[in-house]
């Protein structure tokens, strides 16, 4: 018997608010987190704006020893993990031990520590490289810092799945619980904005000058963002035993790879279509059950066209409300789909679809039911979290209001030859 997997806590470090309450309020209000970049000089780069996290002080969340050990990306992740555990009402004694795992997504992890090391080496020579900083670099460390802080002694794993990393981590974390390999998994993703990435996106001509306007006819590209979105996933038995209130259930997820182009989505979108279909089928649902899509919606021409094609192909004539939180947060890269997953929890808990702000001129080529500029109230039993990432990585996750999703489908757990029709991934 496969276990159901519940989200029992969420923690957020973002440009629109720290912690569940502030984040949910900002999503309801459609608050923008975009501001001039402060952490490095953008005056010569041609672009100046991003969704930088400016109200976060690690000292409020981490012990002194932790502050010395971590880089800023891990600091955000660790703070969000603590918030998520507190939100779940889980104390250290309940999560300590080998049945708790930590699975995190990211694109570049401690990119700033690496940049600092590189700066010292390239500008001042090898003798200037600080030995003590070296072991603190590496995306491997994100889950390790968290496991250490909360007493988790099971699997520690990082999934560097670019802009789909949050969905990858949540999906794999749910698998660990479903198959009985863990009772609790602290999961999600974290990312920071670093100068090299910023310059790279400018050079790829992918960055908008002022606003990220997903699905708008005049959209001019993405803006970068940063932050950490962490979730506590629990097995049904573990949550029930301690009387925890499930906030949402993690349904099935779909994965695929375009194998087409390293930065652009496949124009016929076959991979993302397969991933979205698989996520719905693996949740034991049909497209009619989906109430809302939390879009990847980067605001680039290619992405939004491909995503429109995916939605039309999967949902046919049915119009499903869709919205992109990237209009508020910018593109938080590895953390994006984790923060958007928490946006899905927001929708399930409040019945509100977060708005796509800056939506002014509908694009006939993106003829979707975009939740324009203000949050919309609607049915929120089943929501879908879409991501189409760098490297052709596609990942789609389903979240359901507790009690809504059918039990996990045992056909997906090793019955040789029992692959359900149409579920390639």
């Amino acid at each position: 018997m496969l276990s159901r997997v519940y989200v029992t806590g969420v923690g957020v470090v973002s440009s629109i608010g720290l912690g569940r309450e502030a984040f949910f309020r900002a999503l309801a209000e459609g608050k923008s987190g975009i501001s001039p970049v402060r952490s490095f000089d953008t005056s010569q780069l041609g672009r100046q704006l991003a969704g930088e996290v400016q109200g976060f002080d690690p000292r409020d969340h981490l012990t002194q020893a932790e502050q010395r050990r971590v880089g800023r990306c891990s600091a955000m992740a660790l703070a969000a993990a603590r918030m998520a555990l507190a939100d779940a009402g889980l104390d250290a004694a309940r999560v300590a031990g080998p049945r708790t795992a930590v699975v995190l997504g990211t694109t570049m992890g401690e990119a700033q520590l690496l940049a600092d090391l590189q700066h010292d080496w390239i500008v001042h020579g090898p003798q200037a490289v600080r030995r003590s900083v070296i072991p603190r670099y590496g995306s491997t460390l994100l889950p390790i810092h968290i496991a250490r802080a909360i007493g988790a002694r099971g699997m520690v794993l990082t999934l560097p799945a670019a802009c789909a990393a949050g969905n990858y981590a949540i999906g794999f974390a749910a698998d660990l619980i479903r198959a009985g390999r863990a009772d609790v998994v602290v999961t999600g993703a974290a990312e920071l904005i670093q100068e090299l990435q910023f310059s790279g996106f400018v050079r790829l001509a992918a960055m908008a000058p002022e606003r990220c306007q997903p699905f708008d006819r005049n959209r001019q590209g993405l803006l970068l963002g940063e932050g950490a979105g962490l979730l506590v996933l629990e097995s049904e038995a573990h949550a029930q035993k301690r009387g925890a209130r499930p906030q949402a259930e993690v349904g099935g997820y779909g994965l695929s790879c375009d194998a087409y182009h390293i930065t652009r989505p496949h124009p016929d979108a076959a991979g993302s279509i397969a991933a979205m279909r698989a996520a719905i089928a693996r949740s034991g649902l049909t497209t009619d059950d989906v109430d809302f899509i939390n879009a990847h919606g980067t605001g680039t021409k290619h992405n939004d066209l491909a995503e429109t094609k995916v939605v039309h192909d999967v949902f046919g004539a049915r119009s499903v409300p869709i919205s992109s939180m990237k209009s508020l947060l910018g593109h938080c890269m590895g953390a994006a789909s984790a923060l958007e997953a928490i946006g899905c929890i927001f929708t399930i808990e409040t019945g509100l679809y977060p708005p796509t702000i800056g939506y002014e001129t509908p694009d006939p080529e993106c003829d979707l039911d975009v939740v324009a500029n203000t949050a919309r109230r609607g049915k929120a039993e089943v929501v879908l979290n879409n991501s189409l990432a760098f490297g052709g990585y596609n990942a789609v996750t389903v979240f359901g209001r507790p009690g809504v999703l059918p039990p996990p489908d045992p056909r997906f757990a090793q019955a040789p030859g029992a692959r359900p029709a149409g579920a390639t991934s």
Binding site: Q44, R69, P98, T106, T107, M108, L117, Q118, W121, I122, V123, P126, V129, R131, P135, R136, G138, S139, T140, I144, A147, R148, R153, G154, M155, V156, L157, T158, L159, P160, A162, F172, D175, A179, E195, L196, S199, G200, V202, R203, L204, A205, L255, S256, C257, D258, A259, Y260, H261, I262, F390, G391, G392, Y393, F412, A413, Q414, R419, T424, S425
Partner: protein, 374 residues
């Protein structure tokens, strides 16, 4: 885990490229000569395997991985002469471990950015700086559409990749998966190892030879492998992992025998194997003394004094994210190819049937995998 059949091996290592060359080197106990404390893949020429088109925008890490993927697919009989013969692009995926991403590409762009101008960085090289870039390119070059998963857990990552692959196969997300890891030598990596005093001094002594390479095992359900008449090189039958942080608050780097003990015990339990049933341990012993000592303590505590322990990293180098995959490849060499080299403790039985591959992370993390011959 459910037993998984290894139906192919693609390997690019200091001790040889391709299954046959690698096994021959393992049988011969070849000890490639390090240059300046580094063990590179000597004379690696991707054009030999990939042709000479489209390689210019790729870095060394990507080339190593793509070549390993191509070799693995052909070795497994999933492809012949570049075309699918069994399965299809939609049914085959890849799970790749890598520890640090492309330090080569990041350094290249940082140099331009710091010494010239950030506005001059080459946009066609920028994608290489992203951690899952090599895996993304491998899927493009080899048409792997089922799933593409990148894993990072230091030098435990490739063993964790096997556990991820088990879950993905269990859920029918792919019919076959290329599973392993890749790491490339770079100035920055070597500098980091040197700064940390982790490479042996020129006169010899403690330290690991920094290595590189890529190794991918084709994993399938045994019944599926049999049904298509594939040769099965070995089976992966158990996995365990654990984390134990240092007690001292200020410490970060940590060699934990307790973590490896739990990982090994977990892997044995998962495989349904008693400690006495392990014929050969493919350890991660690399020359880094605190880690080697902790690893040997853990192996002794779980498997007893008499366990046969090998250390192929002495010949292959410390290949970090690829290390566990090199270890699994070495395990196959011991289980079916008559390799007897690199034994550092105990005696190798005449016909070993079971192997335990161990990896100790640098932060108190540890993983282990059990393999058996068929």
């Amino acid at each position: 885990m459910t037993p998984r059949a290894v139906t192919g091996l693609g390997i690019v290592s200091a001790a040889g490229v391709g299954r046959a060359a690698f096994f021959e080197a393992m049988r011969a106990g070849a000890q490639p000569a390090p240059v300046d404390g580094q063990l590179e893949v000597p004379g690696f020429d991707a054009t030999r395997y990939l042709g000479d088109k489209g390689l210019r925008s790729l870095d060394r890490l990507t080339k190593l991985l793509v070549v390993a993927a191509r070799l693995a697919l052909h070795d497994a009989g999933l492809k012949k002469d570049g075309a699918w013969t069994a399965g299809s692009a939609e049914q085959v995926g890849i799970v790749v471990s890598n520890a640090y991403g492309s330090l080569e590409a990041i350094t290249e762009l940082d140099r331009v950015s710091l010494l010239e101008d950030a506005r001059y960085i080459n946009p066609s090289r920028f994608p290489l700086t992203v951690a899952n870039s090599a895996a993304g390119y491998a899927s493009i070059w080899e048409e792997l559409r089922a799933v593409n998963v990148s894993v990072s857990d230091g030098n435990c990552g490739a063993l964790d990749a096997a556990a991820c692959a088990d879950v993905l196969l269990e859920q029918a997300r792919a019919e076959a998966l290329l599973v392993g890891g890749a790491e490339a030598l770079s100035e920055a990596l070597v500098l980091a190892f040197r700064k940390l005093g982790a490479v042996p001094p020129p006169a010899g002594g403690d330290g690991a030879l920094v290595g590189e390479g890529a190794a991918l095992l084709a994993l399938e359900r045994p019944d599926a492998a049999r049904a298509r008449g594939a040769e099965v090189l070995a089976e992966v039958v158990g996995y365990g992992t654990a984390f134990e942080p240092p007690e001292r608050e200020a410490a970060l780097v940590h060699a934990s025998p307790e973590a490896l003990e739990r990982a090994i015990a977990g892997a044995l339990g998962d495989a349904g194997l008693a400690p006495g049933g392990v014929d050969v341990v493919v350890s991660g012993v690399s020359g880094l003394r605190p880690f080697d000592e902790a690893e040997l303590v853990a192996i002794r505590r779980v498997l007893g004094e008499g366990a046969c322990v090998t250390a192929p990293k002495r010949a292959l180098g410390e290949t970090l994210g690829a290390g566990g995959a090199m270890g699994m490849a070495a395990a196959i060499a011991y289980l079916r190819e008559g390799a007897r080299a690199h034994v550092v403790r105990g005696t190798l039985p005449a016909s070993p049937r079971t192997a335990l591959v161990a990896s100790m992370g640098y932060y108190g993390n540890a993983s282990a995998v059990v393999m058996r011959s068929v």
